[in-house]
Amino acid sequence: MGMTITEKILAGHSGKDRVVPGENVWIDVDVLMTHDVTGPGTISIFRKEFGKDARIWDRNKVVVIPDHYIFTEDQHAKRNVVFLRDFVKDQQIENFYDVGTPDYKGVCHVALPEEGYTRPGDVLFGTDSHTCTAGAFGEFATGIGNTDAAFILGTGKLWVKVPQTMRFVFNGKMPDYLMAKDLILRIIGDIGVDGASYAAMEFAGEAVYSLNIEERMTLCNMVIEAGGKNGIIAPDNETEKYVKARTNKPYKPVQNDPDAEFASELKYDTAKIVPLVAKPHSPENVEAAERLSDVKVDRVYIGSCTGGKLTDFKAAAKILNGRKTAVDTFIVPATTDVEKGLEKEKIGSKTLLQIFKEAGTRIGHASCGACLGGPEDTFGRINGEEICVSTTNRNFPGRMGSKKGQVYLASPLTAAATALTGKITDPRKFLA
């Protein structure tokens, strides 16, 4: 019996010929990422357990990307970044993207690929649950807590339970009104927020391979919302083209064995899927956007690691071009590269930035922004009873700020269409 991509990567990194789901193995780590919320705690544990003078296992394999609480006056939040700075200096870590410098990047899961840290066949751990985003590159990537991360800092190793792989196949072509967000919401709506608990979720099929890397990242980003451990997409030319343009580090792409065993396989006819929305307060409350056309909203938020990439803004701009928004609309690019892209990328003769400005949106700076609420002065944060359509990945109570707020998750196309009408709107209305 053969192995899946996930099983092969874990076998390779534990020095074994084969592993089977359910088995616990110690694996070698290629990259460890941490950020401003979880970094300080990780560092404290590292110092406490390995000693004040301890050195990290490999300074070239640790990446530090402050992104969560950036444009705030909150003193505790600012102190976290100072803490990171000291550690990075002490340990001579070069992969650091400091706030207030030209190196500053923004949201870690989008910054990692942009900077060449996501490579097929690798093992990536990060102290953030959406580290699974990098599965889009055909690598094993998952989120961990501070204790596990501190352990890696000292040893370069971690134990994992080999997950079984669930397979999701999207057959047929991708219609222009759908985005990766619709596909992943369809799955979460079908299997529920714990439907893939402890499992790897592999995405395949013609529609998936037709997606660009950023869209594939959106698929893998939200496996955690189905309880999944990691997402995985077999690397192809598209993947290699993206990776090779950003790093010259060697890597080994891994494919499923022809006789690999999957725990389950769910097949979709992509043409039958419609633009979807996840209603408050769970990503599994999935409903067709067209059936919610009487839901009035107060604001629209387009941003985050899942919905704030250049592809997301191109999609939103397609709808907003030459039109005016009817409700407060917040545009928050994930990274500074995306921010620059808004000024370069054009539809016709207008840049995305011009389109957004003319549409009357409010444009923030690269960071996690209000995706997770954050300090009260955070741009776009829900501070009252607002109803918000958002391209982010979580709509738990209080996720974007106030517990009284209500968040509907949707694709950038659906979010932009909603911004124009002030009610939840199927983007097909504007794509004729």
Partner: protein, 194 residues
């Protein structure tokens, strides 16, 4: 009392209690290693749970009484997918600081489970059935880890728990670091000069 028995009043919540409910994101800024600031994690533990779901079945029960830092409930019973959401270790830490010894739920989000075990914060126990509806907040509860059983002393009913399995070694050692020292994978504290 035996180490393998946990008793006390129970706080009951439902399915899908996420980490933003266990400790809302705006509180993640306190230093976990400063004794004064650490206490704040206890103070705000479970403060993100919606009012009507705070302490089922009636709701509206504060997990932490006004002006205090510790909970009167050492045991939490929930339903499916407890601890879903972010990877923040502050979640099991906040519960530990608040005085929680064990959580019983039918299933866990894997990062929360892993964090609870590897950090040695509390015991995440899995019930075979979804049992939160068989408990009322404030009921007196006993967990027997040898017999893999939770008993609602108030109602007299018992329910089966799943054995800890592989995680038991790490839990019994007191967390990942203690375990790795025990198996000789990393240096002892004395050798490491900690």
């Amino acid at each position: 009392m035996s180490q393998n028995r946990i008793t006390g009043k129970v706080y009951v919540v439902g399915d899908n209690v996420d980490t933003d409910q266990i400790i809302p994101a705006k509180h993640l800024v306190y230093d976990t290693h400063s004794p004064e600031e650490r206490k704040l994690y206890g103070k705000y533990a479970m403060s993100g749970v919606p009012e009507e779901k705070s302490g089922l079945p009636e709701g509206g029960v504060k997990f932490i009484k006004e002006g205090t830092f510790e909970s009167e409930f050492p045991i939490i019973v929930g339903g499916k997918n407890f601890g879903c959401g972010s990877s923040r270790e502050h979640a099991p830490l906040a519960l530990q600081v608040a005085g929680v010894k064990a959580v019983v739920a039918q299933t866990y989000a894997r990062i929360f489970y892993r964090n609870s075990v590897d950090g040695g914060f509390l015991k995440p126990l899995e019930s075979v059935e979804n049992i939160f509806k068989s408990f009322s907040t404030g009921d007196h509860v006993e967990i027997d880890l040898d017999a893999n059983k939770i008993t609602n002393k108030t109602s007299g009913k018992s329910f089966e728990l799943r054995p800890l399995g592989d995680a038991a070694d790490i839990i019994n050692a007191g967390g990942l670091f203690a375990y790795a020292r025990k198996i000789g994978m990393i240096k002892s504290k004395a050798e490491a000069n900690v």
